[in-house]
């Protein structure tokens, strides 16, 4: 008797199976970062490539040593999360940072940000931002020394102290520039919006060009890799809070458009805050989470001691995520609140 294809398949749930696994999603996120990476390399030359390479080497290397040390069978390097963490960390660093610091940041990001909590899926804070916070606290000078931008003609030039020896302070004077945010904070000087939009202003490696990050963000939203409520919540709250402040005193406080497109807000809102592990799981929670970040960003930028506050805003809201999850838990289907 010939075996025919079964006419009816009886299986238990789940019936719809997603074809994409973690490595594929991570690969797509990395792809959507490509415009920002290319812009960073265009503006900051070979230093940009080297910083990205050093940071990724630190992150992936730590994960690799951990795998060897614990003799885990599951190969967590192949899921690309360490690669993505290293890449995101590099994009938040100044392009002229010594390479050993970027490497150390990668190690800290994976070791203290992820592995100590139990690896992928268990971290409470965004690993890349943990690495950056560590570097910011350890080397405040190197992390706030920004290189000026250039175009293709300067692609082979090194910026800053790229090849400084490990643990040694570099004494070479590098050309530095102020970021739009510090110009606003300390000189009350507003940078033109087109500069902010296309990234032709000093700043971290991957955060100067808002348009490149938006492109990646729109792609990820269309493919449903990130929850669009988080970045929208951030933008919404930044616009409202900054507009109110601007309305109170237009000279002292920058307009909302400046806050929206300057500094690390785009990178943070689109790529860092939407980390599926450290952000809330409910839709309502995502709104609260995003709006909390937006509020804290403007608060730190205008009233805090530092010109930039995206990193701390996201880390703080990451810490509140479990509480948000608990508060916004939807009722069980069919559950009716008792009237008493």
């Amino acid at each position: 008797m010939e075996k025919s294809a079964p006419k009816l398949l009886l299986t238990s749930s789940p019936f719809l199976k997603q074809q994409e696994d973690t490595p594929a999603v991570m690969r797509q996120v990395i792809f959507s970062l490509i415009p920002a990476i290319l812009a960073g390399i265009y503006y900051f030359g070979i230093s940009g490539i080297l910083v990205i390479a050093a940071s990724i080497a630190g992150a992936v290397g730590t994960e690799w040593i951990y795998l060897i040390g614990t003799k885990k069978k599951f190969n967590s390097i192949k899921d690309n999360t360490a690669l993505l963490t290293g890449l995101l960390l590099a994009l938040t660093l100044p392009p002229g940072i010594p390479l050993w610091m970027a490497f150390l940041g990668g190690i800290v990001a994976i070791a203290l940000g992820k592995l100590i909590f139990g690896g992928i899926g268990s971290n409470i804070f965004n690993p890349a931002l943990v690495g950056r916070a560590f570097l910011q606290a350890s080397f405040p000078v190197a992390l706030t020394t920004w290189s000026p931008i250039s175009d293709f003609s300067g692609i082979t030039q090194l910026r800053g102290h790229t090849f400084a020896l490990p643990f040694v302070q570099s004494k070479i004077d590098a050309i530095t520039a102020a970021t739009p945010l510090s110009q606003m904070k300390f000189d009350s000087h507003l940078t033109e919006l087109t500069h902010l939009f296309f990234g032709s202003s000093a700043g971290s490696l991957g955060e100067t060009g808002a348009i490149f990050l938006l492109l990646g963000g729109i792609y990820m939203v269309l493919r449903n890799y990130i929850n669009w409520r988080i970045p929208l919540g951030v933008f919404f709250m930044v616009i409202i809070f900054a507009s109110v402040l601007h309305g109170v005193d237009p000279v002292k406080f920058a307009p909302a458009s400046f806050h929206l497109f300057s500094g690390g807000l785009m990178l943070g809102a689109i790529f860092m805050a939407t980390d599926p592990v450290s952000s809330p799981i409910t839709h309502k929670g995502c709104w609260i989470f995003g709006m909390g970040i937006g509020f804290l960003v403007v608060l730190i930028r205008t009233f805090g001691g530092l010109p930039e506050g995206v990193m701390y805003a996201i880390l703080l809201m990451n810490g509140v995520t479990p509480l948000i999850n608990r508060v916004t838990q939807p009722p069980i289907y069919g559950y009716v609140k008792s009237k008493n």
Partner: protein
């Protein structure tokens, strides 16, 4: 004290087998105040930003622990149960005041950098814990050895943290430059965050060493059984 493996030989083993010296040895390693009991976290995290501060704090605590242990032990039959904690605090506070003035006399700089944490030795749970759990139930001699062991173990632990934090955080050791010139300091190691990181790293190392030792002992027992 019961021992896990009774086939130990050598200097330390003979020391440990005599019960009174065991009271001294246990505080150094097996029941170390910081690494095993995790007591006295406030000074451990707050004043270990340099090796000098760590030693000063450790020795001051050792002195207070030693004296209060002895006094509590000698008065253990006269202190009413209902007011014992208040009495212990009073005794400890007396010796903290002595230590406070002695440190001021020796070095005003150290006194300034330790700040309020000298006065806070009064509420160090390690000292109160030893008074309540040990000195109030044992003889003066045993309490003396216990206080000395616990205090030196505490000093050792503070020094472990202080050395690492000072070398990385300011590139010096006991105030003397440790690296060639132009060392890039890791400022975070001087800040409170660095204290937590360093303590966590040391606890990791100690627990790892302890687990390894346990495995070795288990293997030994299996061999004996077989």
């Amino acid at each position: 004290m019961e021992r896990k493996s009774d086939k130990k030989t050598g200097f330390f083993a003979t020391l440990q087998q005599s019960p009174s010296t065991d009271e001294f040895i246990k505080g150094l390693w097996r029941e170390n105040a910081v690494f095993v009991q995790v007591l006295g976290m406030c000074p451990t995290l707050a004043v270990t930003n340099s090796a000098t501060n760590a030693i000063a704090m450790g020795l001051a605590t050792t002195f207070v622990l030693l004296m209060s242990n002895m006094l509590v032990s000698s008065l253990r039959n006269f202190i009413p149960k209902q007011v014992r904690i208040a009495t212990y605090i009073l005794i400890i506070a007396t010796f903290v005041t002595v230590a406070d003035y002695v440190i001021q006399a020796i070095s005003l700089d150290v006194h300034k950098s330790l700040g309020a944490f000298i006065a806070l030795i009064v509420v160090n749970c390690l000292i109160l814990g030893r008074a309540e759990a040990f000195a109030s139930k044992n003889t003066i001699g045993k309490s003396f050895l216990d206080g000395l062991g616990m205090g030196l173990g505490f000093t050792f632990a503070l020094l472990c943290l202080g050395v690492v934090r000072e070398i990385l955080g300011s590139g010096t050791l006991f105030g003397i430059p440790f690296f060639p010139a132009n060392f890039q300091e890791w400022v975070i190691m001087i800040l409170p965050g660095g204290g937590f990181f360093t303590l966590a790293a040391w606890l990791l190392i100690f627990n790892w060493a302890k687990q390894r030792k346990k495995k070795v002992v288990q293997l030994d027992n299996k061999e004996i059984a077989a």
